[in-house]
Amino acid sequence: MPAGGPFRILVCIKQVPKAQELQVDPKTQTLKRVGVPSEINPPDANALEFALRIKDRMPAEIIVLSMGPTSFDESLERSIGMGADRAVLLTDRILGGSDTVPTAHALSETIKKIGGYDLILCGEETTDASTGHVGPGIAGHLDIPQITYISEIDIVDGKVHARRTAEDGSEWWEAAMPCLVTVNFGCNKPRAPTLSGKIRVKRGGVIVHWSCADVGIDPNKVGLKNSPTIVAKVDTVHLPPRARKLFHGEPPEAVAGLLKALVEDGVIRP
């Protein structure tokens, strides 16, 4: 922990298109992204909520960090409205097309520049990239402990205690700080922005934009051409069409209709 400074929590958030509203364009066979409303990547909102709950219990400063285009300000403003103290947007054209390797690199460099952090919270994964690799990647670069897939967190005697959901059970981990955790989607209910939060946004000065040069990020380490992976092509999945036989009416009739169809189609033995 940094001597003397306030307890500093960094929350990494990404703005994503609302998953439910994404449709494949039947003509171009690509995902229609334009006009799709955005939101804070849902588990990142859960991560921010955990940060706010820690701040409810003890003095702390919350800095939200994001890498992306300036349209991400929308989510940063919302985060401030919810109660974060400040926000940093790393925004630079040369970052375009970065996969998880440059993203983790750029975010960890930005975190080093912010400095003085005790706890870093990320979401378990993004709904658009869904890798869950960026959080552990940042922890690897910063060479700090990581606890992934957590659904509870507490600060006990200057250490992080977190409950991790693994395949076969739930685990309680303890780690010294600074430490990075990744937060499960849906483990808490993110609070709504407040009026006073919105006023703070209006007053300005709480969100800063940094370029790669501001942070000292090597242009040869970020962007599409410095990303180890490329998406060579995307196939639209043509799931076999479904019959979509709908049964309406009062339950006895609707159920009788369903059962009859199941039997006729041989799903249920006649």
């Binding site: 996969d99 998880t100 992934t148 076969d168 981990w173 303890e174 999945v237």
Partner: protein, 356 residues
């Protein structure tokens, strides 16, 4: 740590062989590790290269010998008390050291929580590509591993290539690849290696572990009929009703993530992108809206039946049959009529081949 090659193209040809990261649990291999060996074998054979399993752990030599029977040419064992359970830092250190030492061309992990925790940290320090949650692998014309993964909840499949960096790394989704049979007579080598580990690598402590206990009965990922409940149930007690329906049909109960996150049913019953993938003959989605992340785990079911109040629910778009109605009325009625039908007869569900 910096990447293992400063100019990515330089030395690419020094990388050879396919590795699979093996996860042990209670003296056995996790099922995803066994499935990975099968897929790793196929990829290795196509390239005419050996297949190596990597097993960091403690007292795992017997397990390593056993693993060979699934199709490995050798297993690298790193045995250390610190590796007794999975821990991010020491496991990352072991894998980074071994990969730098031996330069495999391809490294595969199970897309389990631990596999992703490890892969995410490792790929950043090695500065190489890692594709998450793959469901298919291929080799492209240039000999690169074509790592195929669902994107946007299965609406599309993305082909990921890692052309210039090595190793090419990917995690594979559980229960997508077939587990190979075990041949106890198969020959292979167990190689013991050491990696320097000390107390300093122990940066996190496991305070408590509470195992999920699965009540008896069929597991959803092995059942022919899955009766899945969502947030529309409103209360955990209604899973009892779903269990009755499942029992009638000889099936298993499962759930959406929102039902799991509400604490109504344990995590190991969760279907979807971050839960299990099921492919039953019939999948009942009851009070489930049909979010993309849910569909990712059940859309390959042979037949899908949806029961939902909301006629606009996305689940109806992929349903073969649906009832727009209140589940609290529909399900009991369904159970009643099924019982009537079943009276004095054998199992209700016909063998797959006869499904139209």
């Amino acid at each position: 740590m910096t990447g293992i090659h400063h100019n990515p193209l330089e030395g690419k040809s020094h990388f050879r062989g396919v590795w699979v990261f093996l996860e042990g649990r209670k003296g056995a291999l996790r099922d995803v590790s066994i499935q990975l060996i099968g897929e790793g074998r196929r990829i290795a054979d196509r390239g005419g290269v050996p297949l190596t399993g990597v097993l960091p752990g403690h007292d795992v030599e017997a397990l390593a010998r056993h693993a060979i029977g699934y199709g490995l040419d050798r297993v690298i064992v790193v045995d250390h008390p610190l590796l007794e359970i999975y821990r991010s830092r020491p496991f990352t250190k072991v894998m980074a050291t071994l990969i730098t030492r031996h330069k495999p061309e391809i490294v595969l992990y199970g897309a389990s929580k631990n596999g992703r925790d490890l892969g995410g940290r490792l790929h950043a320090v090695l500065e190489t590509g890692l594709a998450a949650d793959c469901v298919k692998f291929d080799i492209d014309e240039e000999g690169n591993l074509d790592m195929i993964r669902p994107s946007f909840g299965g609406k599309s499949l993305a082909h990921i290539l890692c052309k210039q960096h090595r190793p090419q790394m990917a995690s594979a989704r559980r229960n997508v690849f077939l587990a190979p049979p075990h041949d106890p007579t198969r020959h292979g080598e167990v190689v013991r290696e050491t990696v320097d580990l000390s107390e300093a690598d122990l940066d996190a402590k496991l305070l408590e572990f509470k195992e999920f206990v699965r009540e008896g009965g069929v597991r959803p990922d092995e059942a022919e009929v899955v009766v899945s409940g969502g947030y529309g149930l409103g209360d955990p007690k209604y899973f009892g009703m779903l269990q009755d329906l499942a029992d009638l049909l000889g099936g298993a109960v499962a759930a959406s993530r929102k039902a799991v996150d509400s604490g109504w049913i344990p995590k190991e019953f969760q279907v979807g992108q971050t839960g299990m993938t099921v492919r039953p003959k019939v999948y009942f989605a009851i009070g489930i809206s049909g979010a993309v992340q849910h569909l990712a785990g059940m859309q390959e079911s042979d037949k899908i039946v949806a029961i939902n109040l909301d006629p606009k629910a996305a689940i109806f778009e992929i349903a073969d049959y649906g009832i727009v109605g209140d589940l609290f009325q529909v399900v009991p009625e369904f159970i009643r009529q099924l019982k009537e039908l079943k009276a004095g007869r054998g199992p209700l569900i016909a063998p797959l081949a006869t499904i139209a």
